[in-house]
Amino acid sequence: MSPSRWLAVIASLAILAVGVAACGSSDNSGSSSELSGQIAGAGSSAQEAAQEAWIANFESDNPDVTISYDPVGSGGGREQFIAGGTAYGGSDAALEEDEGELQGAIDRCKPGKLIEIPDYISPIAVIYNLPSVESLQLDPDTLARIFNQEITSWDDKAIAADNPGVELPDTRITPVNRSDESGTTENFVDYLASVAPDAWTYEVSGDWPVKGGEAAQGTSGVVEAVSAGDGAIGYADESQAGELGVAKIKVGSEYVKPSAEAAAKILEESPEAKALSKSPYMFPFELDRETEATGTYPIVLTSYLMACTQYGSAEEASLVKAYLEYAISPEGQEAAAENAGSAPLSDSLREKLEPAVEAIEAGS
């Protein structure tokens, strides 16, 4: 190498060194908050967009804090949380007894207590691709029979009965489901199984149970498949529906369109699942899908945060506490609604959840 090349290499190394030093020194630069350190969480991919918004806002308020959230999926999130690999976890389903997950999570938090709070509620929309039909109304039984492939044509009598005065084409119905295991599927089939038990006799799980339907990967895959297929119908997070038609679902005597308010209302109507609550800080809900309350949209996905009241270090505990406080605060829920299209927690529910987060023993 010529001397001038060497000079260039040395110069760029020097610049790099200065840059690294600058990064390192940001630790002791004065900031308004006393929080510092890093915590990691993992779990539900449904929460990903919300977590991203929370992390971005939280880190800009607390510059010395690093929070990460790995959207590995609910199963992976529960596993990592129980194993102690993460400080907090996200899960699309409340912890359950089978496979020892509930007990495992309780043991992980000893001598502290386990915290489990809903932090993310998202309406699941029934989307359809039928350009000639602007508004579609479905009753739960018809919906279940479309998805179990009993009703195969759009001009079926059952659909016509829900949509008086609407001219339905004789297009073949292509029901689209998720091909990957997902919390969205689990909540959707849980709804079908509770409100239309005669038509929907399958076991509830995150795996789609009916064979022979169209299947696509992820929310984006379902939306893409429904957009591509004339006469297709599917289910996806309401925020992702885009230009597609969104069906109104019959609740009680009226047809309800998915909306943030209507989705948040279901948690107020639903009882807590006491059997799964093993500490005063756990709030697993048994969603009341059969509710007939006006203005309630029952097809929702509820996702939970898992955390402990005690951590190995005060620093970690105060970080988790502050982060969870922000996540369920009105500002945090608003940020999630903007970024992820979720339904903000209602004030009354938040008041119930706050003591759980307060219980984290920080900074002693």
Binding site: S45, V72, G73, S74, G75, G76, R78, E79, E99, E101, R172, T174, V176, S179, D180, E181, S182, G183, E203, G206, D207, W208, V210, K211, G212, G213, E214, A215, A216, Q217, G221, E224, A225, A228, G229, D230, G231, A232
Partner: protein, 313 residues
């Protein structure tokens, strides 16, 4: 026994002892070889150990609630079906492309064409997947409707044709495009080494260009076509991302290639279900991975056997 002899000659040339550089090189080479074997054995061991719980578990607790064989069999069917169709489509195309490049194309085009075919291999599989759902799938809907209407008596095209185009036929076509470059590259390499005297002899005896290719190039390159096809088959069997994105899977076993209900493949099924799995479900997925490992191993061993028999002849 050329090895020891060459060694002796080298040793003699260097004054009766092996040179330092030789020792370092041979040790490095042995270490590299052993590492590869150890890695392979490690992967096999991991698959075996992790799939044991699924094998010994009560069938009721497995995903799907049936036995492990019932869970994996449709996946094996889908995997083999998709890969086989891909190979059947890709091999004739790849051989034709290789012949064109090695024997027919004008000299100026040869280099550019060779690069283009090789470039197909540089496209990431997820890009092929996206191309499959956004372009090829929708474009194939009309063709599949035609197949259903006019060739519906063949079980492959029984229908009803999918409205979205995310079918086994489209997935296999994408796989075929993905394995085309490797099959073509292997074949091309050997075709261009066909002895000149054979080719010129055939032409001198009055053979046309096609007869010359049929009588000299193809027999000479036969083992390379087979090994290329097997390499392609191996890649198609294990291809994950493109199939995961494109195929509309629903766990059925069917030869119907154009409907919305298709069997899944082992690799795609693992990719789709692993993120939300825990406990025994993970062991079950790993057990299916072990089966895929065995299938690809047998495929490759078969290819080796065929090629070595060819070479002896």
């Amino acid at each position: 026994m050329a090895g020891p002899l060459a060694g002796q000659i080298l040793a003699a040339a260097s004054g009766g002892r092996r040179r330092w550089g030789d020792r370092v090189f041979s040790n490095l080479a042995v270490a590299a070889g052993v590492t590869i074997l150890a890695l392979l054995a490690g992967v096999a061991l991991f698959l075996l150990v992790e799939s044991l719980p699924a094998v010994s578990a009560d069938p009721d607790r497995l995903p799907g609630g049936k036995s492990l064989v019932d869970y994996i069999a449709p996946l094996v069917f889908g995997t083999v079906l998709a890969a086989t169709i891909a190979v059947v489509i890709a091999v004739p195309l790849a051989v034709a492309a290789a012949l064109f490049i090695s024997h027919i194309a004008p000299r100026r085009l040869v280099l550019a064409l060779g690069y283009m075919v090789d470039l197909l291999a540089a496209v990431p599989s997820i890009v092929y997947g996206l191309w499959g759902i956004f372009v090829l799938g929708p474009a194939a809907v009309g063709v599949m409707e035609w197949l259903e209407a006019d060739l519906g008596f063949i079980p492959f095209f029984e229908g009803p044709a999918s409205a979205t185009g995310r079918t086994m036929l489209v997935a296999s076509l994408v796989l075929a495009v993905m394995i085309l470059p490797i099959v073509s590259a292997v074949a091309r390499e050997v075709f261009s080494q066909t002895p000149r005297k054979l080719q010129e002899g055939a032409l001198a005896l009055g053979a046309t260009r096609w007869e010359m290719i049929r009588m000299t190039v193809l027999p000479f390159g036969k083992s390379s076509i087979i090994s290329g096809a097997m390499l392609g088959l191996g890649r198609a069997l294990g291809e994950t991302m493109a199939v995961t994105i494109i195929l509309s899977v629903s766990g059925v076993v069917t030869f119907n290639l154009i409907s919305q209900a298709n069997p899944s493949t082992i690799a795609a099924n693992i990719a789709l279900d692993f993120p939300e799995s825990s406990g025994l479900a993970v062991n079950t997925l790993i057990a299916s991975g072990l089966v895929l490992f065995a299938i690809t191993l047998v495929t490759n061993l078969g290819a080796r056997a065929i090629i070595s028999r060819q070479n002896i002849q």
